[in-house]
Symmetry: C2
Subunit: 136 residues, 2 copies
Amino acid sequence: METYDVRAIGVVRSSLRDLEDAPRQGDEGAPEAELVFEQEFGAALEGIEPGAVIELLTWLHRGNRDTLQTRPRGDATRPMTGVFATRSPDRPNPIGLHTVRVLEAGPLTLRVAGLEAIDGTPVIDVKIALGTPDVR
Amino acid sequence: METYDVRAIGVVRSSLRDLEDAPRQGDEGAPEAELVFEQEFGAALEGIEPGAVIELLTWLHRGNRDTLQTRPRGDATRPMTGVFATRSPDRPNPIGLHTVRVLEAGPLTLRVAGLEAIDGTPVIDVKIALGTPDVR
């Protein structure tokens, strides 16, 4: 099958340093974080305002790309299931999907609430969430 | 910035053949479609049942990766805005995000409702949607 090049467009800056400290989902006590973008993408950020809800796509660089099955939520009492039936970071293309609210927007930064990604996680895309007023 | 290799794990089979025919979002009259996966990823699909809602990630191979700003929904009366403030397929990493319901699940296929991606679009990831009962 074909492969495609994904470029990091920015990086997550967070107080979460280790996977062990990170909650599994953003609504499970995840902290605020800052998204810092490469200068060349400043024009692509224009129009994102505080209060907007975005779909943030990250590259989960610590994910294991050879994992096809896992135990849901790491619970040893549950049967193995396919990774596509989970949100595990271990999957063939380790892309993270995070729905987060924008708190502050600078020329090359977005401050967001409740992000479970660890410090240093590459950012690969941002989309306005469907259902946000004035989605285009 | 770093780049990463994304592999196609399958392909969209749809009656939508042209971008001109495709609705902008799945809830705007998009047809059913079939997702056909490579054999090696069969184990990763186990556990996805009819009725499940999934987040489908695709590679929008017709997207223009140099586009940083666009007019929302192609509406010439609206001002230019950054592509990250939109859902445009034209963006630095042209990843499509589609929330769709599974109608049928075979060993290497998923039939889904309301998918606006055109025939031949590469599939790069599948995640169970948050809010689906028993999300792991």
